[in-house]
Assembly symmetry: C2
Homo-oligomer: 351 residues x 2
């Protein structure tokens, strides 16, 4: 048998944070692609559209008029999946039919008054304002709810129904599934090894280097060893930080700068506005905010769907839905490609 | 507080088979859709295309020529994610960096010599031949591998790169992630309750009726209580059957008939060839085939992505990728809609 090379030989890798395995089959990148090609949306978005419900001064579905905001703008989602009041489904009559109450709120946060910008095209102070707004909403909703999920769906490919730069915040009375998994894994790691899983993981990646994409004084971005999406990344603070509101002003400024660099690299990869879903995970909040959550390390996941080009995505279907996630290039190859990309946005290059 | 109604009030439901929760927010169907609309592929597929590598007599990527098959046809995937020989990555040097060997085979199975048919348009004896081929390949590959995953990606929306009716078979030296979850859950249920989880579940659904889609002498199709995809279904034998090869001739004929009915309903829902990923799960195989696997019940999952129409799908993005699956109509509403659809295919209706 020959010597193992990750880029040549299929193998499985373990995700210790979410307790999952991924099949890595890098040799599969050699196959020709004959499947669906995504429509490329190159329409120019107008800077201001009075009919777009996310724009300053526009009228929303419920008749409310948006203020003429000039920074970030947070408001209640007009079609929330979670509402503050909902009756309890009551006790279950059989162990295979379990339903429980769910309460919460869903908010939308606009990042900027203009519809024709995205985070990588915003200035560091403008991105810093978004970070401050993320910290505040975590604090505000976290006072009542045990989980505050901040997430951004970017691009039509990710089901995003509005080009205006924005994210969503869904706070819930329950710990969602993936939060529960991360809770279990981080809790177990801490009790076995005496330190937070992701603090040790970040330290190891700084030593091993091959999966690093960006580093700064306070942050690192890497393609995790167990990444599932082709260009998935993990954004981690160097210091042990449990939640967004704990970040110092210097850490927030530095975060704005590293986010701008990462998202610029993403856009530069296929010279297009790169689609993704991203979100923040930190220690649970709510009434147990003071409890022992030291095993948690704040982090953001970026899950971009594209694989080969601006129009060829990775489909997580058949085998992935029924058996196990599978990826077609190694995390190390993905990190190398992202590292090599310029930190100046292709749209901002002097001609 | 008002009385709980599943179709009005958000709640969470537990999936005891895969140990996961789903957020059910049926009131959300009321929101207008402004997001991505899928391209509708209405091109007619030629019955025979000598350049299509899945057709009888065609030349494949590796230069092999397909036989002039007239039933099903099984061959090795020319770009397999799993190969029989791959060196071992060796021991891990850190608990957060775990990789393991993966070996296996990937096959493709054509259902029919014609490219312009799909399972619901095939005759029951032709579908029966597919079922027999599924049973044989499970037996053949199961002699060596602990898991044989049969799955079908149907439609361009599901990443299917070839319109010719076919499925894939990936056999692996490891138990994939979802198989492991189902193993754990069924094992635990059996030891707690003394009978297989899915046998009891099927019995309960027959009593409760509201989630049933189809029943026959030997089979049932239902929208599971914990379904995640809008029109997801679960296909279960009434008898306790661990693996496909155990099915009797009568059960196979009946399966062909109920599959044709289910897939006809799916196509009739939006009057289009309905996309989905589907796959079979049964007791593990390989060297442990004789071991105690009585807690397993054979079943097939159908995961169709469409939500509102032939062109508006459910996006499993942001919240779903970072927190928890979320659905927009109740499983009971989905079952009711599927039940009401005719069992005669819209393309075969007399005009
Ligand atoms: O059918 P193909 O071309 O092999 O590939 C398709 O199914 C595979 C198994 O579900 C996925 O890994 C691929 O992403 C998908 O495009
Ligand atoms: O942004 P929207 O329109 O609320 O909706 C989008 O994000 C939600 C949260 O991830 C998903 O549940 C929807 O399927 C998706 O279309």
């Amino acid at each position: 048998a020959s010597v193992f090379r990750a880029s040549e030989h299929q193998h499985i890798r373990y995700n210790p944070l979410q307790d999952e395995w991924v099949l890595v089959s890098a040799h599969r990148m050699k196959r020709p692609w004959q499947g669906q090609v995504e429509p490329q949306h190159v329409e120019t978005v107008p800077r201001h559209d009075p009919l777009n419900p996310l724009c300053p001064g526009a009228v929303r579905a419920n008749g409310e008029v948006n203020p003429h905001y000039d920074g970030t703008f947070l408001f209640d989602n007009d079609f929330p999946a979670l509402q503050p009041d909902a009756p309890d489904p009551g006790p279950s009559d059989h162990p295979l039919f379990r339903a429980e109450a769910a309460r919460g709120v869903c908010k939308v946060m606009c990042f900027h008054p203009w519809s024709d910008v995205t985070l990588p095209l915003m200035s560091p102070p403008e991105i810093r304002a978004v970070i401050d707004a993320w910290a505040s909403v975590t604090e505000e909703l976290g006072a009542q709810y045990p989980w505050v999920q901040i997430f951004e769906n970017k691009g039509a490919m990710m089901g995003c129904s509005n080009p205006h730069p924005h994210c969503q915040v869904w706070a819930s009375s329950f710990l969602p599934d993936i939060a529960q998994r991360e809770e279990r894994s981080q809790q177990a790691y801490q009790s076995q090894h005496g330190e937070p899983l992701l603090v040790e993981y970040g330290r190891q990646e700084l030593l091993r280097k091959e999966r690093l994409v960006l580093t700064s004084e306070h942050w690192l971005v890497l393609v995790p060893f167990w990444a599932v999406w082709p260009f998935q990344t993990l954004l981690l603070p160097r210091r042990h930080v449990r939640r967004l509101p704990e970040l110092t002003p210097a850490e927030r400024d530095d975060l704005a700068s590293i986010m701008k660099k990462l998202l610029t690299k993403y856009d530069n990869l296929f010279e297009m506005s790169f689609p993704y879903s991203m979100g923040w995970h930190g220690a649970p909040t709510g009434s147990e905010v003071g409890a022992k959550w030291d095993h948690w390390q704040l982090h953001a996941h970026y899950y971009p769907p594209l694989l080969r080009s601006a129009t060829v995505r990775k489909f997580m279907v058949g085998y992935e839905m029924l058996a196990q996630a599978q990826r077609d290039l190694t995390p190390e190859q993905a990190a190398e490609r992202l590292r090599a990309l310029p930190e100046v946005h292709y749209q901002l290059k002097a001609n």
